[in-house]
């Protein structure tokens, strides 16, 4: 059974870049277009292993989304932030909410795969 990942980003192009990079590695990738959509899909997908999410999105931003996940019943879910932001204060807030890696766009495919494999192992 393949490892299931969700990418939450309001840019369809960024989602496509992530989907292509991860499917090449054998991951199954779901997509969500903002934090609210992401939260619904994360709650509805019990066998999800990893969330890759942007910060600046309409309806609900990525930090609020991962803080909402944290308030839900505990589950083994890893979180990688993939964003244009790199300010220390925001990185600290994400880490407190459970993010395990932070990548600033434009992302290098190798960095993303390395972070995923460090958190999940190979698919």
């Amino acid at each position: 059974m393949s490892v299931k990942v969700i990418v939450v980003d309001d840019s369809s192009n960024v989602r496509r870049q992530v989907v292509v990079a991860l499917e090449e590695q054998g991951y199954e990738v779901l997509e969500a277009k903002d934090g609210l959509d992401g939260l619904e899909k994360i709650r509805a997908t019990s066998d999800l292993s990893l969330v890759i999410c942007d910060v600046n999105m309409p309806n609900m931003n990525g930090i609020d989304m991962i803080e909402a996940i944290r308030q839900s019943p505990p589950r083994p879910l890893q979180i990688i932030m993939l964003t244009t932001i790199g300010q220390s204060a925001m990185v600290r807030r994400a880490a407190e909410a459970g993010a395990k890696a932070w990548i600033v766009k434009p992302f290098k495919k190798d960095h993303l795969i390395a972070a995923i494999q460090k958190l999940l192992g190979s698919p």
Binding site: S11, G86, S88, V91, W102, P106, L112, A114, A115
Partner: protein
């Protein structure tokens, strides 16, 4: 022109050149322009920002061909929605770069989600004391970046950058475990 623009001008130029370079597009800055004008089919993408002492917009006004050239996984028959989406993302990433660097100088703001419009014979606003317009070009295409900002009287930028304000830069991975 406010001190903010004088200090931000070289940072914005550096950010724009580096951003396009990361998508394999080589650009040079031709300097300030009176306004953005794109005669061919083009896209205007803008992202707003709001802080305690500053607010404004960053706008990219570019030919469609340039947006497509800078798009990873681009293909010939992309829908206009995809092109606008990528123009928004470029605008978001450019303002993100600028925000990172300005935060080292004590300038902080939140970004809005970007928007974009496509059309022909696009024109931006005229450069004035609250609007910086920069012209960039590739070998065959010209495009513009506008930065407009309203700055509060108590606004100030640090003289030297505070490097600890930023944890991670573009293209970098930071593990938090």
């Amino acid at each position: 022109m406010h001190e903010f623009f004088q200090k931000t001008d070289p940072i914005l130029i550096e950010c724009c050149i580096a951003l396009l370079s990361s998508y394999d597009v080589t650009v040079v800055c031709d300097g300030p322009a009176s306004r953005a004008e794109i005669p061919e089919e083009g896209i205007v993408a803008f992202t707003g920002f709001t802080g305690e002492a500053i607010r404004g917009n960053l706008v990219i006004c570019a030919p469609l061909a340039l947006i497509c050239q800078a798009m990873p996984l681009g293909h010939d028959d992309m829908a206009e929605e995809e092109q606008r989406d990528w123009a928004c993302e470029l605008s978001n990433q450019l303002l993100g770069r600028l925000k990172l660097r300005l935060s080292m100088f004590g300038v902080h703001f939140e970004m809005t989600t970007p928007s974009a419009m496509a059309g022909r014979e696009l024109r931006g606003r005229l450069a004035d004391k609250e609007t910086l317009v920069l012209k960039f070009s590739t070998e065959s295409l010209a495009f513009y970046v506008e930065l407009d900002a309203m700055v509060a009287p108590h606004f100030e930028m640090l003289a030297t950058p505070m490097l600890e304000a930023v944890s991670v830069l573009e293209g970098e991975l930071l593990m938090l475990i």
